[in-house]
Symmetry: C2
Subunit: 176 residues, 2 copies
């Protein structure tokens, strides 16, 4: 995952974002304060939003992989509540959603090739969560050359209009 | 503003974020796609969240400056709806809120030394808005050496617990 991010999402390297763990507690990602500092000497809100969005994206991706599925995962909606400044190392935690939600997500994905997962994540500090983040991710079955008919218009997903033409009713599709 | 961001929020330089204009239409900020690309070859959602949060922060700050006020501006809450991928140059627009809301904001700030402004911003593409963003910013009168009693505890605003001790009821305080 870290090699993948380093290679494919270069700004995460400028931010120093690293996946630290994925286990029963969910995903933990960290970043140093220094490259992410703002004018007040605390963590830049954009970095906090980025690491939170990535932690949820990683969780969704890793849950799918563990279940033997490889999906395209996109962020659909996100909301962040900034409660306190972050004045040290940045630690983002994204706990695993309840088992029944994960199970419903995987079942829906296997049935329809598309499903949504809601996650909650937060920036951890000694004084408690500094930022609380809620987001919904969409998992889509990756398109292969053998199933061109699955995407209307046959576009490669790079143009907004082509993308928008095949939505399933809600806002969607921005990779984190 | 660009020199300020370059100096004080270094990650915005890695992202190539620039303020392009502030006028009757509001704030426009841009960033090149290349340093902000993700694994799908489109703009990284964290960068989109960052430039949107910055555009609202800049708008709030510039509105205050135009009115002759210099405040600390912090993001309190933000929500983003990712509707379409961004496959080219990133353009964020944050229109000026309605005149009566700006006037109420400035009046409240002058009366209480603290006020909130809600803004809406979006990522512009030829096909329409790709990301829609709503956020609330808090403006606080900067503390000076001559008024140490205005902040409880006299902390310098770097520690979460000190910050949290003087809130006004809502979530708040992360500089963008």
């Amino acid at each position: 995952m870290n090699a993948y991010l380093a290679r494919h999402v270069p700004i995460t390297q400028a931010m120093g974002i690293r996946l630290r763990s994925f286990d029963a507690a969910g995903v933990t990602m960290t970043a140093p304060l220094k490259p992410n500092i703002n004018d007040k000497g605390i963590a830049f809100g954009g970095t906090l939003a980025s690491i939170l969005a990535l932690s949820g994206w990683a969780l969704t991706d890793l849950v799918l992989r563990e279940a033997g599925e490889a999906a395209d995962v996109l962020i659909a909606v996100a909301a962040a509540e900034y409660r306190a400044p972050v004045a040290g190392r940045i630690v983002a935690r994204c706990p695993l959603p309840p088992a029944e939600e994960l199970s419903a997500f995987l079942t829906a994905y296997r049935l329809r090739g598309r499903a949504r997962l809601k996650v909650e994540a937060f920036i951890e500090t000694k004084a408690g969560p500094a930022v609380i983040f809620h987001a919904t991710y969409v998992a889509r079955r990756p398109l292969t050359a053998s199933e061109p008919g699955k995407r209307r218009g046959g576009a490669k997903g790079r143009s907004p209009s082509a993308e928008r033409s095949e939505h399933d009713g809600g806002p969607q599709r921005q990779d984190p």
